[in-house]
Chain length 521, copies 2
Amino acid sequence: MEKHSKEFKVNAAGKNVPFRINGNELIPYMGVGKYKPTGRRYGPPLSSCADFPADGNKLVPNLKEALIRSGLRDGMTISTHHHFRNGDLIANQIFDIAHELGIKDLVWFPSASFPCHDPLIKYLEDGTINRIEGSMNGPLGKFTSEGKMKGVGVLRSHGGRYQAVQDGEVIIDIAVIAAPISDTFGNSNGVNGAAACGLLGFALADSQYAHKVVVVTDTLVPFPCIPWQIQGNYVDYVVKVDQVGLSEKIVSGTTNVTKSPDRLYIAELTAQFCDAAGLVQDGFSFQAGAGGTALSIGIYFDQIMRDRNIKARFIRAGSNKYPVKMLEDGYVDYILDGQTFDLEGVRSMRENPGHVNTSPFTSYNYHGKGNFASMVDIAILGATEVDIQFNANVVTHSDGYLLHGIGGWQNCIASKCTILPIPLFRDRIPVVRENVTTLCGPGELIDVIVTERGIAINPLRQDLIEKVKGTGIPLKTIEQLLDEAQRICGKPTDPKFTDEVVAVVKWVDGTVIDTIYKLDK
Amino acid sequence: MEKHSKEFKVNAAGKNVPFRINGNELIPYMGVGKYKPTGRRYGPPLSSCADFPADGNKLVPNLKEALIRSGLRDGMTISTHHHFRNGDLIANQIFDIAHELGIKDLVWFPSASFPCHDPLIKYLEDGTINRIEGSMNGPLGKFTSEGKMKGVGVLRSHGGRYQAVQDGEVIIDIAVIAAPISDTFGNSNGVNGAAACGLLGFALADSQYAHKVVVVTDTLVPFPCIPWQIQGNYVDYVVKVDQVGLSEKIVSGTTNVTKSPDRLYIAELTAQFCDAAGLVQDGFSFQAGAGGTALSIGIYFDQIMRDRNIKARFIRAGSNKYPVKMLEDGYVDYILDGQTFDLEGVRSMRENPGHVNTSPFTSYNYHGKGNFASMVDIAILGATEVDIQFNANVVTHSDGYLLHGIGGWQNCIASKCTILPIPLFRDRIPVVRENVTTLCGPGELIDVIVTERGIAINPLRQDLIEKVKGTGIPLKTIEQLLDEAQRICGKPTDPKFTDEVVAVVKWVDGTVIDTIYKLDK
């Protein structure tokens, strides 16, 4: 199969998009909210209880057996979730087994990948895995950028992943769901068990739409396993292993508050901006991501709320000990949590009814009847690059290497006020640029850029500009920030690419917003 | 459209089944577990967040407006749920509006109907409603039996209703979900609000699969409404009314413990049988229905557990104050609840994490990957008639009138031991008969008949017969019970029917197990 068509179309953002990749036609990005799907939700094959044990016991001896009974064969799409983050022990085992069985050309469809998955490079090399549709971080991304992956990678946001599965763009043949606790029927959750990782929301679409669903756990309880974050009624097989994940490794390296004076200043400035713009008020809401700067901003919000005795209605998280403390001290009614970033998050989700298990369906799915992301008052997010149209990049670095996944970023920029607190440059490479290397988020959805050298508000948001005038907030234009970055670092040179497509970046509606090419070295 | 074809097929139970009703072909019943669906799950049309308000506010001024925006027109299928039981205030309003708008030939697809819905007869008469697919109780059933309904009724179990929607046999055009509490996004639940009714599980399929979903509530809270038993991501419109339901009327008349000496004896005998057969042991489970006899049996179980200091793992309920007390006293780990029958049930579901919100999907859907019903150790259920093949009837009376819905009955008989505690006769009409008037449950799934004059165990269950031998349990054959009934009451005469089909009874897999004809009077 040709890796990608030689023909390209130009999308609404002016980017070239191949007609086809991996044998599938692509729809070029049409603009925010412009593409309207005309199809129907995907319907996996019907099952019958007659084919499942009446006593509910779906245990099979091991993962290999479960994969064989699931009909594992060449070309299938196998999905996993990333709630164990760098402590995932199961994904690699799946492909070890596939390799042992001589299976080829699999598509790995993870909700995210981590350094612990670097051993899969050997299976990308030997043809066991054709491609990854999901985040290609670090070494996997470098491998992709160097054109070594057989198929073309597809990058989707968390919401875009749900949308793709729901819409039938991606048909998951076998979903393998690593679960900290389960019953033999397959009801399972992430809040209990030795390897408790919080929740399993990233595996929701997989459980609902995959043709075969395998739950792998190290802790079995008698039916019913409560809460059933994953419902056994969707599950085909259950496998018991000695250890399903390393819960200490779900703790992200990015959950420490920043100690950098520049970043602390950016955090403080961001909080000041939000306050000056009247966004921090009783009943407000914000997205609290991981990352030292975002954490510090949350702490500023916390302080403002305590000082004024106001409270937030909800925090959309990535939870860790900071939002948990706000919840437990009564400064926020609800944490609407998509993934836990530390063990305090896990504990809180287990104990607090106000710490609510969400999923990409509730929070991010663009082909639903609304989602939570657009209801959030303030979303504070990162970026590798921002350009003078306020377009932003989160997947490639300025040297052209694909090094990050999209996560929920594309979904979160639908918020009422999206703020990117970023340094003006990193290691003398400008972050504010004339053009982003890869377009991930259209500038019309990015409202504010906060740097250590001033704040640029998107001219589309005159309302915000009016609100902060005369409040002492150091406003600049994005062009002024660009000039300053180039004065300090010099004008950066663009990376050189070949015309070989190695990955495409999907927008939240399944259209293609940008194309990533093989590096020319 | 012809009401039904003149041609019939004979199904595996020997019953005549019309080729077609209401223009749709029917699949005759093939035997327990014999029919295997080959299709795919139904996929409703895809939506886009671009068509929904970014701030999540889906409020429209009133129900009429919501129905008009939902595209209400002739021939549509409109669904409602029955968690308010006889306190439902919304279903009638829908058809008042449809009548006012001159809409004709609607299909009403309720999860159950109650006496409060009798005013809909006028719309069945004037053609606003073509037919009911759902329970036709009391006057609605009488109306149907007399051949007055324009279309042919379709009776389904709670699980069969989920299966039909999931499989696309019934396509719901507009689901109207009355909810005691909601946010303007449509997240809603039944545990809070002035008209708290416990849960909304019967509306789950409707929310997931209907083309348009309208939530009607009398209590709005700021986003997020927690818990979201119905997820706003499936909801199109939200309507605020003064009063959504009468929560005092959810209290079923059948939630009082029986005072009849015969029924008390039957209850005691049932509990004795279960104990003698070794079914009441630490970690066991049972289905606790409404109805005075079933309640009394639960109380006997409770007493046995307290005496021996053992506990049940779960109760599948229909909850009320009795299972709630067992839960709160620590004699059962979980109540897996499908509907609350009193306000103690509502309170407990709100307060106790072990009182778990279930749905026909988890508990009953036969076209899933297993369901809960077959995992239950003991199911205690009622019947209007039982025959010498242990076949049972729950929808018609011996006079031929359709007077009841199936409820979860067909689903629950999948349990490990299904027991029907019934009087041998009612008002001098035998309950044990040569043939049931309408076949609802195949005898192979009915294990034990308990009457005030002895217990008959299905010969297929030699294991149970062996277990209770010599324990003093008064065993009889079903033929002995039949003889005794006929000796006392005389041989009953069968009702006379015309050859006009007024309703069909679906089996849990969507096939037709029996046909109900117009009475010949």
